[in-house]
């Protein structure tokens, strides 16, 4: 298992470098120009100097290794410096955003908590709703509850977040006036009232994202439970005289969770993709909104870094899912 993990970790390095290269070349080949927003009155030679100041006068085979160096060596050094007070990164150039002229990672650090709160919360809520639905649907197959669960997950698959979000706003903010439609990120939670405000503004974005998660996870949970409920060991457990709750919740549930846990791990990156749209609807100033702003402003370092971080997340979650599968299921051996 350990050798497998190490081998996979080593293999993920070339994968990530290749992905970084693909993203870099896509941005490089694209004809968008970060100078496009500048006034037309700037003389061409000044524009050339400005391009040089952004480092754009160098060919890609110079800039790509530079980016790799900044991302993988300089930025971690800065992070170590700020944590332990050392000075590894003294005088080294950090990744700078074209738009704000501030380090990319500082901006990401400011935006990350909002996204993590909304996305993480919605994932936890979604999974917590999905698991009981899946278990009951499978245990009472073809019952009214099962049909309703199937229908709800079909809706979760079919209604895109930009419609369910808008629909929720129309119902709960416009018609009923219960919940705020805009997520206020300046709110500081320091009392019961502010806590309630925070809770109320989080309900809708969390629910929109959780619906997607619930739809997917409850389907997997149901299928996996159904597979296990017809196994011989379930009959044996019942024949031994174990109570139904022990049979279902201990024997069957534990075995059914094995594939579901990997699905949950694999779903984490895609929920960040969904967050791009949800943040746009509820005006959360998180990573997704930052990405859209950076795209519109041709802010290449910012787009590159955010996209690459998402790729790292996908590769890592794939790895974690595979390793978890091996740990949880002793029948599976990676050799």
């Amino acid at each position: 298992m350990l050798t497998y993990t190490i081998r996979r970790l080593l293999l993920s390095i070339p994968t990530l470098i290749f992905i970084a290269f693909v993203i870099f070349m896509l941005l490089e080949l694209a004809p968008g120009d970060p100078m496009a927003q500048m006034p037309l009155t700037i003389p061409p030679e000044v524009k050339e100097r400005m391009r040089a100041a952004l480092g754009l006068d160098q060919p890609w085979w110079v800039r790509f290794p530079l980016w790799l160096n900044q991302f993988f060596i300089v930025e971690p050094q800065y992070w170590i410096d700020s944590t332990f007070g050392t000075s590894f990164a003294e005088g080294k150039q950090r990744l700078i955003s074209f738009q704000s002229r501030s380090p990319v990672f500082d901006t990401i650090g400011q935006r990350l908590p909002q996204t993590l709160w909304v996305v993480g919360m919605s994932y936890v809520v979604g999974v917590l709703i999905a698991l009981p639905i899946g278990i009951i649907s499978a245990y009472k197959q073809y019952s009214v509850f099962d049909q309703a669960g199937t229908f709800v997950s079909m809706i979760g698959f079919s209604v895109p977040p930009f419609f369910s979000g808008v629909l929720l706003i129309v119902i709960f903010s416009v018609q009923l006036g219960w919940l705020p439609s805009i997520y206020d990120t300046t709110l500081v939670v320091n009392s019961w009232d502010t806590f309630m405000t925070q809770l109320r503004q989080m309900i809708m974005p969390v629910m929109v994202l959780a619906l997607q998660t619930t739809a997917q996870v409850s389907r997997y949970m149901r299928a996996s439970m159904l597979d296990n409920l017809s196994q011989d060991y379930v009959r044996t457990a019942r024949a031994k005289g174990m109570s139904e709750s022990v049979v279902v919740l201990k024997h069957v549930l534990r075995n059914s969770m094995i594939p579901v846990v990997t699905v949950i791990a694999l779903g984490i990156p895609s929920i960040f993709g969904g967050a791009i749209i949800t943040e746009q609807i509820f005006k959360v100033n998180g990573l997704g909104q930052l990405l859209i702003l950076a795209l519109q402003g041709n802010d290449i370092p910012m787009v590159m870094t955010i996209t690459f971080l998402l790729a790292v997340l996908i590769v890592m979650m794939n790895l974690i899912a595979d390793i978890l599968y091996g740990i949880l299921d002793p029948r599976i051996r990676y050799d």
């Binding site: 968008g32 079919s158 895109p160 930009f162 129309v170 791009i276 746009q280 990405l291």
Partner: protein, 319 residues
């Protein structure tokens, strides 16, 4: 001996040999959700394709005097509401008829969905068959598929939309350029699942006796794939095609919703929704019409996919 055998078998031959697709259709008909989905999909397709012929209103025509007309059902709640029988679904803030816009937008959304799905399925089938049939290509193609799967696709799609829009618009004109860009963008980011499924099925088929028999009489690989392999992997391809149609429609609407799709005078369902969000407090119906159109179409397609999967699975057919 032979005579008696033929006599005994004779009554059995009364039943005509049935086409495989008739069996599939019979099974499909028994799935209520799938039939409802199919009927809705046909309805919405006809509505968008032939609706403009009957409802002869230019979707882009401005009529500022008749702006902000509410849909006619508003009369039920509010006798004073500004309604107009000439605009049964109401008009927007520039007086454009919403029903005409929904029809025109549906044409484009459905066209993008179908074309992108066909492109994705063709690509996925090609790569899946090549990887499954030719062992030499397998490792390379599947590594490539895994790599594409680990790319963050939505952000990359956004990057592609934003960066390639101007040159394509300059080359193919504003509408065709964006259409090509969106279709190609969605197509090349959603073929991977099809490729994986097709590859697995082709690898299993390759070990079957009929393939061995075909090879023994000297069938060249090209004919082998088109005559023997492809017809047998049609069912997973069709199922992933329906799922692909649903995702393509949603992705196009999402791009339009983020303001990175078609230009604003060019309606699609996602675009109409996006344009109406700012004024949804006063006119919620403008958001709900296109949203319902997208959601119901995708729901219908998903149910069709569900029914097809059941109908194409010979193990449960005829139950």
């Amino acid at each position: 001996m032979t005579d008696t055998a033929t006599q005994e078998l004779a009554p059995l031959k009364v039943e005509k040999p049935r086409n495989q697709w008739l069996d599939v259709w019979d099974q499909f008909k028994s799935h209520k959700g799938a039939m409802a989905g199919l009927i809705f999909l046909i309805f919405i397709t006809l509505f968008c394709a032939f609706g403009p012929l009957l409802w002869n209103v230019d979707p882009g025509k401005l009529d500022v005097r008749n702006k902000d007309v509410r849909p006619i059902y508003m009369l039920l709640f509010d006798g004073e509401a500004k309604v107009n029988w000439a605009n049964p679904m109401g008009t927007d803030n520039l007086g454009r008829d919403i029903m005409a816009n929904i029809m025109q937008g549906g044409r484009i959304s459905l066209a993008v969905g179908w074309t992108a799905m066909i492109l994705a399925v063709l690509l996925g089938t090609l790569i899946g068959v090549l990887a499954g049939y030719f062992r030499r290509l397998d490792g390379l193609l599947m590594r490539f598929t895994d790599l594409v799967l680990s790319l963050p696709l939505l952000p990359l799609l956004l990057v592609m939309m934003l960066l390639f829009r101007d040159p394509l618009r300059a080359t193919f004109g504003p509408e065709n350029g964006i259409f090509i860009l969106i279709v190609v963008g969605i197509g090349i980011t959603s073929w991977m699942q099809t490729a994986r499924i097709v590859r697995g099925d082709v690898m299993a088929l390759k070990e079957r006796e009929f393939v061995l028999a075909a090879r023994s009489i000297g069938t060249p690989p090209r004919r082998m794939i088109t005559r023997h392999i492809l017809p047998n992997v049609m069912s997973p391809i069709m199922v992933s095609a329906t799922l692909g149609l649903a995702t393509a429609i949603i992705t196009e609407s999402a791009l339009s919703f983020l303001g990175l799709g078609f230009p604003s005078d060019f309606p699609t369902w996602g675009k109409i929704l996006f344009d109406s969000v700012d004024r949804m407090t006063a006119f919620p119906e403008r958001v709900i019409w296109p949203g319902l159109a997208i959601s119901l179409t995708v729901l219908a397609v998903n149910y069709i996919g569900d029914g097809l999967r059941d109908a194409l699975d010979p193990r449960i057919r005829g139950l």
